[in-house]
Symmetry: C2
Subunit: 266 residues, 2 copies
């Protein structure tokens, strides 16, 4: 049954805006009707839904609410102020969900990656900006990559800014947070993936002349520092986007989008 | 000669963080050594340079400072606190420039656009997010577009967030802020440009099968609402990026990057 969100409960949920609490409690917040609908369309476990019952909702959001009310293990009624305190955005959308963290199991994912005959995995090395991580997940979701690896120094997939920028992409495909990206890359290689490191070096393979391997693992590094040497030495290929203008560099997310578009649409 | 930045002068410059003052005074601020160097490499008029003389600088920045001191009409010495008050970033880089606004003349640009035999112009319609506008300018700069039109509802090219995200791209090519994007598009058509509107409609031309016209004018619209009807009706082509995964949409900047990469690297 629905109950009013108490002050005590609010402060419990508010803690989840911090990573250490998300990890300790194994759950995270999602904000807004769109992310809620995406989570309901996935296998994610909805621990709680917190919403403002005084809002009048659009039909689509009303339907999302109905499903959420059936699926959520707890339901809380909250005020606009309470929802704003839980969310990151200035104008609250009127709903926040609490979702159980689920670690994608490497064993399962590895088996799946061995099995596929063609596809692309994107691996991010030290891409710390949550907006960049989130939009890369969103683009990966559009172009249909098989999985995304988040290496050391990347934002977490449960970070509110990553969730928002991903537009639900985090619920659409396996996203693996790697304690050692290097280890995962070496294992993926055994499953037949060739490792392609995005590079700004003019002597790398040029996009346009590059034949993407059937199983491609595209590594994108930190914008300022590029890919770490310990990752770079695993590269089967280094791939660059030729420059035609005067710009010094491309944003990491923009580069990934250009690369993935070329992978799909040669 | 260099003088210490007074409180009064600081508050005069601080006002330039607001658009209405930038317009009224015809000048804007640029923050950091990189943007300063880019402005010095362009025809921009450097009205003032404001820097913290207590900093020890890298060689490259030291060289930028020397050129700036020769070129700037005024030089002010400032404290770290003062520079932080002028800038947008939390950690000040130790330098802010004041640059004269320059309206790209439509007559000149139009003549230039008539003359070129092939190229791409990017036009943004109601892309309000300054981060998106700035990264699109940065990508346009990488792929070497001929010009960028900022239509109604777009961020200004003098917005600090646009400047920062553009990574100096605003100093590398003509960027036209249009009071009526529709008028400019109609005029560009007379110069031989074909108008290509980026679209999410599945019945639009699909990227990959699309032959870019020699003179392409790519219009990208607002993420939520797309391109306005009054612009859409000018389209010679509607172009979509086929979807291969589960994502509902692509971020406007990511879509532009994918489109421009395809334009250059077919």
């Amino acid at each position: 049954m629905a109950e009013r969100l108490s002050k005590a409960k609010l402060s419990v949920f508010r803690r989840l805006s911090r990573k250490k609490h998300r990890i300790a409690e194994g759950r995270f917040l999602i904000e807004g009707w769109h992310l809620l609908a995406e989570s309901l369309g996935s296998n994610a476990r909805l621990l709680a839904v917190i919403y403002d019952p005084s809002r009048s909702l659009q039909d689509e959001d009303q339907r999302t609410l109905q499903v959420a009310l059936e699926r959520a293990e707890s339901v809380y009624l909250a005020s606009d102020d309470q929802l704003r305190a839980l969310g990151e955005t200035v104008t609250s959308s009127g709903v926040v969900g609490v979702v159980a963290s689920e670690e994608d199991s490497w064993e399962d994912l590895s088996r799946e990656l061995s099995r596929i005959e063609s596809g692309c995995v994107v691996a991010l090395d030290d891409v710390s900006d949550p907006g960049n991580c989130g939009t890369i997940i969103r683009s990966g979701d559009w172009f249909g990559v098989a999985a995304i690896f988040l290496g050391e120094g990347c934002s977490s997939k449960e970070n509110p800014k990553v969730l928002r920028a991903s537009m639900g992409g985090v619920f659409h495909m396996p996203i693996l947070e790697c304690r050692s990206l290097r280890d995962r890359l070496m294992e993926a290689r055994k499953s037949g993936f060739e490792i392609i490191v995005a590079s700004l070096d003019a002597d790398a393979e040029a996009l346009g002349d590059f034949n993407w391997p059937e199983k491609s693992l595209l590594v994108v590094g930190n914008e300022a520092r590029g890919v770490r040497p310990s990752i770079l030495e695993l590269a089967d290929w280094r791939l660059t986007i030729p420059r035609f203008g005067k710009g010094e560099s491309l944003n990491a997310a923009m580069a990934t989008s250009a690369l993935l578009a070329n992978w799909r649409i040669r």
